[in-house]
Symmetry: C2
Subunit: 341 residues, 2 copies
């Protein structure tokens, strides 16, 4: 299996990308195609003693800045490591693509270069977030600020397949993020989505309030990208705030410092549980081939984990499983539609 | 000063309401008017030895259930403790009203019985939430799921006055909750609100991402009620999840249990910081007279704190300060509007 990597995406590129790729080659037996400036990659690997075993380089002269307009990927940045990597995926040079670069550019580029699966209205970013029950998948985590009901239903169907195939949950509980549990709650788009999800080929458990997300009330949380971004970012901020407060508390006195020493190992486990780097990457669901967004601040371990995820995604035929589920959704919708006289 | 209390609102009514009221009478020197069933109140106070000093009862034969349609407050539940209390506030029998009953009914009842301040489009619920910097005010926390830009701007202006007058922040930083910091981010309503807030008589600091809220990036967070509800409920759920995980971690082994013992006092301080009961009540901003929503699960201490807040609100003339600020907003908007030829 060949995984294409954007060697110049993220805050720690290219060194951490190279190190993570080398770890993945070693641990998972994959081959890696690095998209990026050939000279710089070789120099960085050489200076830092990173093995290039089972890695090849696909030269790309540019890097798209995070602040660039996403559509610039197809114009002034068409020779960037991200654009070159996506084109290589489209052409079948590799099986999946991983980038820690601009989310907006990756979403636009994937839709326009790699294209979407048949019938998919929009591709969205799915993010796995820790919860009391283990994890839940948030879809969409920010790609599409405004969503129609038919997009949200597809998010639920694709998210369900993902949790089944990649996280091993037999019958994922799909919840619609809303401001109350009754089906009349929310805005028109939530009310319409509620009824469509009831008829969709998923285990729809109804509306889920935001309070229930970290408490493990569902396995797939369906939301528009605006709400999803609020959920993702607030989760990050609160985890940072609370661990900061906790740290301050543990260093208050000699007594608490001694206490901190005794709970040190358990505390490390606690932090690990909340660590997004364990999951590594967020898949773009809806693209015709597997694309993963790694966190902008990813280190080598995060890249390695993102590559592992991409490998599992390919091995489990997630794309074709999603296509089957989406075809079922279409059939069910056609059956439910009022017949012409 | 007389504070009117809904004696039958919330999960712990009437006992905790009575106890909290008695504590407030004692500590803050206020008088209390209890709206609710006269016999039941007297019996409950008698059986539990709660002093009725400086408290009078305003008889109300009904209680509106939390699940009732909010508009039922004006029809089949017009004799409920909430409706009777709101009417007493309108008639000037007391200076402020506190209820832990149905949020929806309180919002509808306040707008229709007590009425809104002149020029206010909608009343919203403002909630004080702990953050790294101390606290921030979230407005609207869930009263109006869908908001227009002119409503959001008023929320910012009223929230700013609240943080200045009640929390002693000289020049509150008002932020617009959005999915990015650039002014082009979000949906049309955010983009329009951004430009209106730039001209409003507040210290507008621009868009704030959800990540920045718990990290203390603003003092007033302006959001529509859908987004606000997501923020409020997710904060509750995450605090519960993380403290639960922390507790589990502390009881993992004999060693960690010993550690837990050493950090016990500091841990209590940590929990107190995250405790909504310290703040007691969420004000409805925009009503012509002070109305406070106490949390449904409020205990005596939460009621006492809500009464303290109501007292401070009245003493600081928050309503008239808001009216002045809203008049300034109107003047500025008129100045900024294109003149007719």
């Amino acid at each position: 299996m060949k995984i294409i990597i954007d060697a110049f995406g993220g805050d720690n590129a290219p060194l951490e990308v190279l190190k993570g790729s080398a770890m993945a080659v070693e641990e998972y037996g994959v081959e890696v195609i690095l998209a990026g400036d050939q000279e710089k990659i070789k120099q960085c690997a050489g200076e830092n003693g990173v093995s290039m075993k089972n890695m090849e380089i696909l030269h790309a002269s540019q890097v798209i800045p995070v602040e660039a307009d996403p559509t610039a990927l197809l114009k002034e940045y068409s020779e960037s490591s991200m654009a070159v990597g996506l084109k290589a995926l489209k052409e079948g040079k590799g099986d999946a693509f991983v980038s820690a670069g601009s989310t907006g550019a990756l979403v636009v580029g994937s839709s326009l270069i790699v294209k979407r699966m048949k019938g998919v209205r929009r591709a969205g970013i799915a993010t796995v977030i820790p919860s009391a029950g283990g994890n839940y998948l948030l879809m969409d985590a920010g790609a599409n600020a405004e969503c129609h009901a038919d997009m949200l239903v597809q998010f639920g169907v694709m998210g369900s397949v993902y949790m089944k195939q990649l996280m091993g949950i037999a019958n994922p509980r799909v919840g619609l993020v809303n401001i109350g549990t009754e089906e009349t709650k929310g805005l028109d788009v939530q009310r319409e989505t509620y009824h469509l999800l009831q008829k969709a080929p998923v285990n729809f458990i109804g509306n889920v309030e935001a309070r229930g997300l970290p408490l493990g009330e569902c396995d797939v949380a369906v939301a528009d990208g605006f709400t999803g971004n609020i959920i993702l970012k607030l989760t990050e901020g609160l985890a940072k705030f609370l661990t900061g407060e906790l740290k301050e508390m543990l260093f208050q006195s000699t007594k608490t410092k001694l206490g901190a020493l005794l709970i040190k190992d358990s505390l490390a486990g606690f932090k690990k549980k909340l660590d997004y780097k364990e999951h590594g990457g967020a898949p773009l669901l809806g693209t015709a081939k597997p694309v993963f967004k790694a966190h902008g601040s990813s280190d080598a371990r995060a890249f390695k984990n993102a590559i592992r995820q991409a490998k599992t995604y390919v091995e489990n035929n997630v794309v074709s499983e999603m296509e089957t589920a989406l075809a079922q959704l279409k059939t069910k919708e056609a059956e439910a539609a009022p017949k012409a006289e």
